[in-house]
């Protein structure tokens, strides 16, 4: 037997691995004396087959306890190892906890199939998470200080392996350019080929940072007009939303001066577009609700942006009765079914960041409402997996719990609790 494991953070990223470490530390010294052939970690390969679904009344804990008891009864010994996550699929869910502006934050990696946390990674202040479109890596743009929350600031990009959760790249960003803001998913983005990460700088001047992930180096800053968010439409182009109500198309080009072009103004000055639009990099669909539930849509995948006829999520009567979107990630878009999911509730004006109890399902083509799900609790953020039978993810910041629903019926199927201090952001990959 071997008790070889690498002490350190990697061992602490999974509750199971931590338990194994503790078991190893409390093992009789005689057992430890029989140790070790190899100084490196022994790892378990990702599960080839998915575990059987839990039976009625069975929990992950009771199943693990039964398996451990059977193992013990059969004379089996414990062999602590550093675990690996199953290979990611469309239901790999990344839940980011900005922790109410704490200097140190965490990201929980959840397998939506089994509703289990399969790993965690640490980050600094208000990181911006990204996930590769093919699931091959995930990462974040993050900030740390030399004395926790003061001293010298370092901004950096970190990339992780989705199975081992080991960092595979650590790229420093010069002159601390990150925009420190409540986590808006599209303030950082990957190009479709997953080779470039783009991030937003607010001060001292609006700009977009270009990070070459393939070459593991910071490339350059592109100065832009007063426009916000980043929606890559190809490997060399991305769109932004500008103060004047237009979109800006930025064509990076190879090393040359970037070319910019504004679309027409597509919304009025008194139509307030939320900070958390939904965007599908696979088909270029941008779905952008307002405070009142008017939903603007643009297709960015062609040569130029084309705007669709806006949708009204609510009737005039419903608006009079106080219906409006609200929460953090208030909208999700499922590409295959062309459906919009909108988090909404009855609320007074100017309470647009309070959670909602309902999700509207809307046909993005016709604007018709397909369903309204009563989630039965206050939810701050929603997302959907992009597989054929999608899961609807509903995250409660106060309950610190991810509730997993069947997107077709709204029925809750499972949940994952104890997700940090104030989890707010759900990220999935359209694999």
């Amino acid at each position: 037997m071997t008790h070889a494991y690498r002490p350190g953070k990697a061992s602490l990223r999974s509750g199971i691995a931590l338990s194994a470490v503790l078991l190893a530390l409390t093992a009789p010294t005689g057992a430890l004396a029989q140790d070790t052939q190899t100084p490196t970690a022994q790892t378990q390969t990702p599960a080839e087959t998915a575990p059987a679904p839990l039976a009625a009344g069975e929990t992950h804990g009771t199943r693990a306890a039964a398996e451990a008891a059977a193992h013990l009864a059969a004379g089996g010994e414990d062999e602590p190892v550093v675990l690996q996550a199953p290979a990611p699929d469309a239901r790999r869910v990344y839940v980011n906890d900005p922790a109410h502006f704490a200097a140190i934050t965490q990201q929980y990696i959840v397998d939506g199939n089994t509703a289990r946390v399969v790993g965690m990674v640490d980050a600094g202040f208000l990181p911006n998470p990204v996930v590769a479109s093919d699931g091959s890596f995930f990462g974040h743009v993050s900030s740390v200080w030399s004395r926790i929350a003061r001293g010298e600031r370092t901004d950096y990009v970190e990339v992780f392996d989705p199975v081992t959760h080991e960092p595979t790249a650590d790229i420093e960003l010069p002159n601390t350019p990150r925009f420190l803001v409540g986590t808006y998913p599209w303030m950082s983005a990957l190009t479709p080929n997953n080779k470039t990460l783009l991030f937003y700088q607010f001060s001292p001047t609006p700009a977009v940072g270009v990070v070459d992930l393939a070459g593991k180096r910071f490339d350059r800053m592109i100065e832009v007009p007063d426009c916000y968010h980043i929606f890559p439409s190809s490997d060399q182009t991305f769109y932004m939303h500008c103060r004047d109500g237009s979109l800006l198309k930025v064509t990076r080009g190879e090393g040359g001066e970037p070319q910019t072009q504004n679309t027409e103004v597509f919304h009025r000055e008194d139509e307030y577009l939320i900070n958390h639009p939904a965007y599908s990099p696979k088909n270029g669909r941008l779905v952008w609700p307002t405070y009142t539930g008017k939903i603007f849509q643009a297709d960015l995948g062609g040569e130029n942006a084309t705007f669709r006829e806006p949708i009204e999520a609510f009737t005039e009567e419903e608006k009079q009765a106080g219906w409006a979107p609200g929460g953090w990630q208030q909208v999700a878009y499922h590409r295959d079914s062309n459906r919009i999911f909108l988090l909404a509730d009855q609320r007074p004006q100017w309470t647009h960041k309070t959670p909602s109890r309902f999700v509207l399902v809307i046909d993005a083509e016709t604007g018709q409402r397909i369903a309204r799900y009563d989630l039965g609790r206050n939810i701050d953020s929603i997302a959907v997996s992009q597989d054929a039978e999608p899961q609807l993810y509903a995250l409660s910041t106060v309950e610190r719990t991810l509730f997993i629903h069947d997107a077709a019926t709204g029925e809750e199927t499972s949940s994952v609790d104890q997700l940090g201090h104030g989890p707010q952001v759900i990220t999935t990959a359209d694999m």
Partner: protein
């Protein structure tokens, strides 16, 4: 950290009429030279984003709206350190005298999309 440095500069500006560089100096006693220019701040804009003055003349900014704004000079030719003016509330003014020819670009600190420049001949 940039913000700490900026805050310190802010305090310095409020108490000291001159910068170390002296290519620009804040006028706090109202004794600006004749001539110069004025810039109104309204609707999230510097109303005249480019003004031209002669060396030795001053520019006075007046915030005309409730939202606070300031004048924050970036480094550039003739200016080796950033200079961040205090936040101006409604009807407050800020006067800077320009002693050296050059182009001085500035922004509003919390609204970096507000940009302006002073050309000194």
């Amino acid at each position: 950290m940039r913000t700490l440095v900026s805050a310190t500069l802010c305090l310095t500006l409020l108490s000291a009429p001159a910068f170390a560089a002296d290519s620009i100096q804040v006028i706090t006693d109202g004794n600006a030279a004749a001539g110069g220019a004025t810039v109104e701040i309204a609707k999230m804009k510097f109303a005249t984003p480019e003004v031209t003055v002669k060396a030795g003349e001053a520019v006075t900014w007046t915030n005309t709206e409730a939202l606070p704004h300031n004048v924050h000079f970036k480094t550039g030719p003739g200016l080796t350190e950033e200079h961040e003016g205090p936040m101006l509330r409604s009807k407050q003014t800020y006067t800077v005298q320009f002693n050296e020819p050059g182009t001085y670009e500035y922004i509003c600190t919390p609204h970096p999309f507000m940009k302006g420049k002073v050309v000194v001949e």
